[in-house]
Amino acid sequence: MTNVLSVEDLEVTFALHESEVRAVNDLSFTLRQGETLAVVGESGSGKSQAFLAIMGLLAQNGRATGRALLGDVDLLNMPAGRLDAYRGRDIAMIFQDPMTSLNPSLRVRTQLSEVLVRHQGIEQEQATREAVAMLERVGIPEPAKRANAYPHELSGGMRQRVMIAMALLCKPKILIADEPTTALDVTVQAQMLDLFKNLTRDFGTALVMITHDLGVVAGLADRMMVMYGGRAVEKGTVDQLFYKPRHPYTLGLLHSTPHVAVRAKRLDPIQGLPPSLERLPTGCAFHPRCAFRFERCFAERPPLLDAGDGRLKACWYEGPLDYEEVA
């Protein structure tokens, strides 16, 4: 399988009034054609900012360095004007809140067809027809009718379907979904995940699912990248990370997720709070909250190293992660 996106040494910094904050630190990963990559982490782990940087959507005080190769074009080092040609056509993004991601004063079909007219230069009428077909594809009943509606007349799930339709209209190579189910009802969430699965498979689109919900990851993703404090701390296939986590943070995330099959007495959240990016702890950024820490964790930051079976982890601790005994 070919790589559609390879990111190397991505760093994102934000200039504050007096200081600089690093939201993302030498992040490297590849995305293969048609696969689904889950990016998991708490709030402030840099997962969203990394992908906003790739899309060129950082806030004005943000700056990204490194390389993000889409085929042989580098998305990070490209004038903003040229980037517009790739955004929406080769790489699309869906945002967290479908309530606010649609323009309230334009009809749904206008917003959808705009993308096609922009990127494929087809006629307005043809574009509208394709837009309606895509609405049907994402499971909107009576698509011709809904296409005439304004966003405020649609429900949340419907609007997220419209967003998905919009993102997939040009059949992009990569779709980045930034917590696409967070703002939706649980029942609708499940439908959305099904939809993502089917559509990305049908279109051969590589999907990046940014989330903090491990339930989402389990059913959908092929590979998984766990981020903490702006760095990737563990990477591997979903099965590897779910059944045999090798990083204490991954383990902590798994333990804080409720599960129907496991009748735990209580949920076991990770102690403490995510670190402030302005003052990251020395050594391993996770050490203040880690149950397995030892002297080395305070002094040296563990690099992301091969941990066998094609997985990577950034942790000094080599012993078995047996939570009950240590905690």
């Binding site: 899309m55 060129g56 959507l57 004005q60 004007g81 517009d84 040609a85 790739y86 955004r87 929406g88 056509r89 699309a92 993004m93 945002f95 809140d97 606010t100 991601s101 649609l102 323009n103 309230p104 004063s105 334009l106 009809r107 749904v108 705009e114 993308v115 922009r118 990127h119 009576e142 011709a144 009718k145 005439n148 509606a149 304004y150 405020h152 007349e153 967003m163 919009m166 993102a167």
Partner: protein, 305 residues
């Protein structure tokens, strides 16, 4: 292939009909208009304003006297129905009703032209400054500040010198000065709009700055712009009256409400009809416009939703 029952054809027809009959979605504007229709004062204002417009533009055709015709037999006469001077005559024997109609016409044209010009310039300038932000925004808005600081009467005098006494050009000029506040309002709105997620989504979809401004920012500015424009109209009518009062505005024999009032004010004790007719029209018009602007603000205010 259509089956033997011809079901496909029937279904297709049915689907086509459904698509045709599908209700057009109700836009925010339509919502707002419905709310406006519930506001009695605003609806009454609309009717009165339409009445005034008809009065000004169609009225002259039904009068025996034109606004510049001098009736030598009736100079400074109170209302006289036999001769057809329903509101009396002025110091030169011209029919007050005809002159009021012409004056209203002039004031309405002036207000429409100047408001249109100020809206167009204001939206473009404000949206561009607000969306681009940063240094460009700072430079553009400092320019607005400087324009604000200069006395506009100075500009008007310069404009009169440049354009001569052509009222329409003069009021295009006034529109060119009135846009400053509009630009500020639009810029402020744009600043908050551009942080909204749908703008980010549009950028993620590869839309260019130009497209984002024209398709995603400007349509969402309708509310504040409409409200502000309705409130600009009376402001410009007053400005026009003021300029005409100073002798910089509309010139004889043409007239405007402001000119008529300034002519009637000194003689209000001896010839009250010369002041009352134009003043009544002006006051009614301004009140209605203000009520309408108020109603529109209530109808369009996003906070109500």
């Amino acid at each position: 292939m259509a089956g033997i029952t011809g079901k496909d054809v029937v279904l297709t027809n049915y689907a086509d009909r459904l698509a045709l009959e599908a209700p057009k979605g109700r836009s925010l504007t339509q919502d707002a208009l419905r709310r406006l229709a519930h506001n009695k004062a605003a609806v009454a204002s609309i009717f009165i304003l339409v009445g005034i417009v008809l009065f000004a533009f169609l009225g002259p055709y039904f009068l025996p006297w034109s606004y510049e015709e001098i009736d030598w037999t009736a100079i400074r006469k109170p209302p006289d129905f036999e001769k057809g001077h329903f509101f009396g005559t002025d110091g030169n024997g011209r029919d007050m009703l005809a002159r009021t109609m012409q004056g209203t016409q002039m004031s309405l044209i002036v207000a429409a032209v100047a408001t249109l010009v100020s809206v167009i310039i204001g939206i473009t300038y404000g949206a561009v400054a607000g969306y681009l932000g940063g240094r460009i925004d700072a430079i553009m808005m400092r320019f607005v500040d400087i324009m604000y600081a200069l006395p506009y009467i100075l500009f008007v005098i310069i404009l009169v010198v440049i354009f001569g006494r052509n009222p329409v050009l003069l009021f295009v000029g006034i529109g060119c000065l009135e846009w400053l506040t509009m630009a500020r309002i639009v810029r402020g709105q744009t600043l908050s709009l551009k942080e909204r997620e749908f703008i980010e989504a549009a950028r993620a979809g590869g839309a260019r700055s130009r497209t984002i401004i024209s398709r995603h920012i400007v349509p969402n500015l309708t509310g504040p712009v409409v409200i502000y424009a309705t409130l600009t109209v009376p402001e410009i009518i007053i400005t026009e009256s003021f300029l005409s009062y100073l002798g910089l505005g509309v010139q004889e024999p043409q007239t405007s409400l402001g000119t008529l009032i300034s002519a009637g004010a000194p003689v209000v004790e001896s010839m009250p009809w010369m002041l009352l007719t134009p003043a009544a029209v002006l006051v009614t018009m301004l009140l209605c416009l203000t009520y309408l602007g108020d109603g529109l603000r209530d109808a369009l205010d996003p906070k109500d939703r």
